[in-house]
Amino acid sequence: MLVQVAINGEKHEAEVEPRLLLVHLIRDILRLTGTHIGCDTTHCGACTVLLDGRAVKSCSVFAVQAHGKEIMTVEGLEQDGKLHPLQEGFMQEHGLQCGYCTPGMLMASYAFLKKNPQPDEEQIRRAISGNLCRCTGYVNIVKAIEYAAAKLRQGGS
């Protein structure tokens, strides 16, 4: 089947089997490898992308379901050579170690901050509870998201 999607604003199309998972379309066919695979059973969130603005686990969506939709991946966060405040926050607050869960964390928190620009710690922790991190113990991820929220409120990109 023909699938047409816009990823990070760029149009792509591919002829795919209906059973192809969205994450494999993104990684293996369109070669955007920032989106990772960590569990296959909707538990880890490493594959989180935005599908028409909603954060979803791309390992549990078929590529054909995304036909005609907008997808945003971690590669789309940086705009005109300027890091998104979340990316900046993860770096400043040491919100990542091995980096494997990071793209999923970034995308989940990106969608979350759009809905809730002034979250408290409890809300942030709930918002990233579909994303597993094995390295950081989450403390600095929470700080990174707080950093970004503050910066975004001040009008940072």
Binding site: C39, T102, I128, R134, G137
Partner: protein
């Protein structure tokens, strides 16, 4: 300790932002599965539904008839090349693919090679295997009983399931102290099977170039050099010589010990690539990762403590049954089949101690690797810290007071333990006092007393652990005979920038940053100007890899030593440039100046340029050095953790309300990274304490083989960790550093368990095995008459 270098140089003690981050936050890291080579084939694996069964027939017909399926590889195929078995790191053997029988559920049975991963998966579905189930041995104690089915029928002389017996310490002296003891306590403690479950699973791409005869393997490995040698030793007879093998460990999505062993999937992928001459990718999925990769722990411990009535500890005696699954595939130093379990006297001054461990075969996956822990140290720490609490409570002493009484005193260092270790340095009371102050220990005890009156359940738990990391001195430490040194090679370029390569491999620890800081400290070249590389065996010097918190203690030291060699040469060049005697030069980070004439100076950059453009007559050009560092001793980081828990009487749920961790890892390279390591370690201490376990039913069926039931804590379960530190440098490490990546994993479970038992002690509860599930707590509550 205030940093000696400026922030611009960014030597030790600066929270330099990580050099790794810019690529990771943009999704531009390169993990194994991100690599795609032209013409690459995919490997997927058929696995056994049985824990123990004879393979009667493998029928690949239907699979081979499917479009895109190129081959089905079986043990018979590998047996032609004698590659169906391979050695483990503990000199045992394990199957690559079985010929006669399978020994655990989810064991590799056959492999399907196809043109893409979907077709490979279809092929796996279509392979038909006929099994004849055999009696299953799950319980290691039953495995030792006479008449138990002998599992390793491949070993001709094997008549039972006992692998090895190991003991350490003075048995007679220990028994004597116990006979004369005023107080003794005894407790069975089980540390269940768990799995590191790094978020990236294991996998590789093997690419054998038929023309050049060179094999390149991109691989999720923590120890690329050792892997290269193992491959050469195992496959030498089929023509893979070590100079024709290149292992590349690219970005690694977490290791924690799980990426040290060689798994059958890697070997099959290599075989498939050698056969086809095409690149072959194998990536396991999460269930394969949890069900078949090496496990950690599975120690059945019986511990006894002897003490005086006044609370002075006198002796420790431990017997342990170690369930290794069907093969001993632990990643321990060869001399120590139970790893460094004999650090079990912990932070306390014992007169005598004796430890016995027996390794046993069962129908479970092989292993006995670490779970972010230096060779069985968590097992040791959990035991001693649980036992210390038991004695303290038994004697009616406050657990903190009890510890302070029994700690090895600062003036006793270097301290020789009853089990033969020489602890390098420590100030245990200092760390505990700091933790108590930070958490408000006295106030919490008052709150607990009040709550107890109202029938509410609250507990406070302490763990004052001593770690042992940085393996290790070559006299005692080797893996498969390879001594556990590590290495660094530095090249300073003419313009004063540098590249440094190490024998280790970061999996998230931030080596590109911290190693650069070590070199910046030693050479005064800004950390930003130093490129650190690891993980490519064609370019990096030989090293044993990153695990057991050995990178800073061993490779970090190698970095410092190599840098000092460079500084020595730089001094000669500087003397030449400044026309001064070498001994008249003064070093400060980044430059040599003439004693008494600070303006007559040459920066390291100027010296580097001169090394290529204007070096003294008779001296070799260039500014490079290599160091292979063999540490004189291990390092002994320590800390004191205190946790506060509240227990729900109705549901049995345990909530960690607060957790204070005071760590001492000697001199710190990057405080930000150290804190991050502690946060992560604490979370991997919380996880097995409350959530994670892999168990088996009586048929050997794995329970908890996916993230549905293997419960990694999320941000919601994880408390907001509170950290602090003391600093007691290692006297023998060139930088006074000790290693920190695993301390928290090792120390945290006991702090949580002790808090839970502390909350329930007055009811008559004495011990609870981890993971402390709501169901277990509920049972204890109801047994002791508490309900909502």
């Amino acid at each position: 300790m205030a940093p000696k270098t400026s922030p611009e140089i960014g030597g030790m003690g600066h929270s330099v932002k990580r050099k790794e981050d810019p690529r990771f936050i943009r999704g531009k890291g390169t993990y194994v599965d991100d690599i795609q080579l032209p013409g690459m084939l995919y490997l997927d694996i058929v696995r056994s539904p049985f824990a123990h069964a004879k393979i009667k027939k493998i029928d690949p017909t239907k699979a081979l008839a499917m479009p895109g399926v190129l081959a089905v590889i079986t043990g018979q195929d590998l047996a032609k090349y004698n590659l169906h078995w391979m050695p483990t790191l503990m000199s045992d053997t394990q199957m690559v693919l079985p010929v006669e029988k399978v020994m655990y559920q989810a064991q590799e049975v056959a492999a399907v090679l196809a043109t893409d991963r979907y077709k490979a998966a279809d092929g796996v579905e279509a392979v038909e295997v006929e099994y004849e189930p055999l009696p299953v041995v799950v319980d290691p104690k039953k495995a030792l009983e006479p008449g138990a089915p002998v599992l390793r029928t491949d070993k001709k002389d094997k008549k039972d399931n006992h692998i090895w017996h190991w003991e350490w310490g003075d048995k007679a002296a220990t028994d004597r102290v116990f006979r004369e003891a005023e107080v003794t306590v005894k407790q069975d403690i089980y540390l269940p099977r768990i799995h590191v479950a790094s978020i990236e699973t294991c996998g590789c791409i093997a690419h054998f170039d038929k023309v050049s005869g060179k094999l390149t393997v991109w691989m999720t490995t923590q120890a690329p050099h050792a892997i290269r040698t193992v491959f050469a030793l195992v496959a030498g007879h089929v023509g893979l010589a070590e100079h024709k093998i290149r292992i590349i460990s690219p970005d690694i999505g977490g290791g924690f010990g799980g990426k040290v062993p060689v798994y059958p999937g890697y070997v099959i992928a290599v075989a498939a690539s050698v056969l086809t001459g095409k690149p072959v990718k194998w990536m396991e999925d999460r269930m394969e990762n949890l069900q078949a990769d090496s496990f950690a722990r599975d120690y059945h411990i019986t511990a006894e403590l002897a003490a005086k009535k006044d609370g002075t500890l006198t002796a420790l005696r431990i017997k342990t049954i170690a369930d290794h699954g069907y093969a001993d595939a632990a990643a321990n130093p060869s001399k120590f089949p139970a790893g460094l379990f004999h650090i079990c006297t912990g932070s306390y001054d014992f007169k005598a101690a004796h430890v016995e461990v027996d390794g046993v075969y069962t129908n479970k996956p092989p292993g006995g690797i670490a779970y972010r822990c230096s060779f069985r140290v968590t097992e040791a720490v959990h035991t001693i810290e649980r036992m210390a609490d038991l004695v303290a409570h038994q004697l009616g002493m406050d657990p903190a007071e009890f510890r302070l009484k029994n700690f090895i005193k600062p003036e006793q260092f270097p301290y020789k333990s009853a089990l033969g270790w020489e602890y390098d340095s420590g100030n245990y009371a200092g760390a505990l006092r700091k933790a108590m102050e930070k958490i408000g220990y006295a106030e919490l005890r008052r709150e607990q007393a009040e709550k107890r009156k109202r029938g509410e359940l609250m507990g406070i738990g302490i763990s004052s652990f001593t770690e042992i990391v940085g393996a290790g001195p070559s006299k005692h430490f080797d893996i498969l005979g390879l001594k556990m040194f590590d290495s660094c090679e530095i090249r300073i370029h003419p313009t004063g920038k540098a590249i440094a390569r190490f024998g280790t491999k970061s999996q998230g620890q931030g080596h590109e940053t911290t190693y650069a800081q070590i070199l910046a400290e030693e050479l005064g070249i800004p950390a930003a100007d130093i490129q650190v590389e690891e993980g490519d065996t064609d370019t990096a010097p030989y090293g044993l890899g990153t695990y057991a918190s050995r990178s800073t203690p061993v490779a970090g030291a190698a970095g410092a030593m190599a840098a000092r060699k460079i500084r020595d040469k730089a001094r000669k060049i500087a003397a030449h440039l400044l026309e001064a005697a070498e001994e008249d030069l003064v070093w400060e980070p980044g430059k040599f100046s003439v004693k008494g004439a600070p303006n007559r100076a040459k920066t390291i950059q100027e010296i580097a340029f001169a090394a290529y453009t204007n070096h003294p007559q008779g001296m070799e050009a260039g500014l490079e050095a290599v160091s292979y560092y063999d540490p004189p001793n291990l390092t002994f980081p320590f800390g004191s953790y205190i946790s506060v828990v509240d227990i729900d009487k109705g549901t049995g749920e345990v909530k960690v309300r607060r957790f204070v961790a005071v760590d001492d890892c000697g001199n710190i390279i990057n405080p930000m990274i150290v804190e991050g390591q502690i946060h992560g370690g604490l979370t991997m201490g919380l996880a097995p304490a409350l959530y994670e376990e892999i168990s088996y039913d009586e048929h050997g069926n794995i329970q908890g083989g996916s993230f549905m039931d293997y419960l990694l804590p999320t941000a919601v379960e994880t408390p907001r960790w509170e950290t602090d530190k003391t600093c007691t440098p290692s006297p023998h490490h060139p930088l006074g550093a000790k290693g920190v990546g695993e301390s928290a994993t090792v120390g945290a479970p006991a702090a949580i368990t002790n808090a839970v038992v502390d909350a329930l002690w007055h009811l008559g509860v004495r011990h609870i095995d981890i993971p402390i599930t709501p169901a277990k707590v509920w049972k204890l509550l109801r047994e002791h008459g508490v309900t909502e």
